[in-house]
């Protein structure tokens, strides 16, 4: 059973703080993704990584960076948190099997920046 875990379910940070969101998957997936989810906007891709130390920008990378030092771990970094980064953050990893493409999501981290 694939498991994607995120380090925190809820997080409250102050404006200007550096924030780390951690994600770990246990299925040896090459691909990992960070999304943010906001009401009425769906899920928007921030960054993804298709291999260790490899990363690509998604649709909304501004204000974020990522780190992937090990295959199973993908971190999202907010260098200087701002109130408009208050959101639900979802991590996912990707399995490619014959004829199917499924992303496995973690439970999410609800980040509030005050």
């Amino acid at each position: 059973d694939v498991k994607v875990t995120q380090s925190s379910r809820y997080l409250v940070k102050r404006t200007g703080e550096k924030v780390f969101l951690e994600c770990v998957q246990d299925m040896d997936h090459e691909n990992m993704f960070w999304y943010r989810q906001d009401p009425g906007l769906g899920l928007r891709l921030i960054y993804f990584s298709y291999d260790v130390k490899m990363k690509e920008k998604g649709d909304i990378p501004e204000g974020y960076s990522v780190s992937r030092e090990k295959k199973e771990r993908f971190s999202l970094i907010l260098e200087s948190a701002s109130t408009n980064q208050t959101s639900m953050y979802l991590c996912a990893s990707n399995l490619w099997a014959q004829g199917a493409h499924e992303q496995y999501f973690g439970p999410g981290t609800r980040l509030t920046v005050t």
Binding site: G40, R44, L45, F48, Q103
Partner: protein, 115 residues
Amino acid sequence: QQQVKQSPQSLIVQKGGISIINCAYENTAFDYFPWYQQFPGKGPALLIAIRPDVSEKKEGRFTISFNKSAKQFSLHIMDSQPGDSATYFCAPTLGTNFGNEKLTFGTGTRLTIIP
């Protein structure tokens, strides 16, 4: 940016009724059409998906209908149950030969099934 349009934004259906959620896309290169289901406090999970070489796929009470010429696909939930209450996302994708595809999520439909 608006490659995927999902409707309705919210839907209330009587128990036992049919729930229908629609997804319209612009990118004709999309070649895999999934629906994800998300319960409160959980991440989305794949519910059902279809490839463009078929027009319909059924899994239990869930059916995807695909209209390639109209660039639309829809999710039908037959005999809707309170346990189906969740948020549903369409997420068409491309590049399926490479395994590192990006999903383009719709804005979501909050479905509520009332007794």
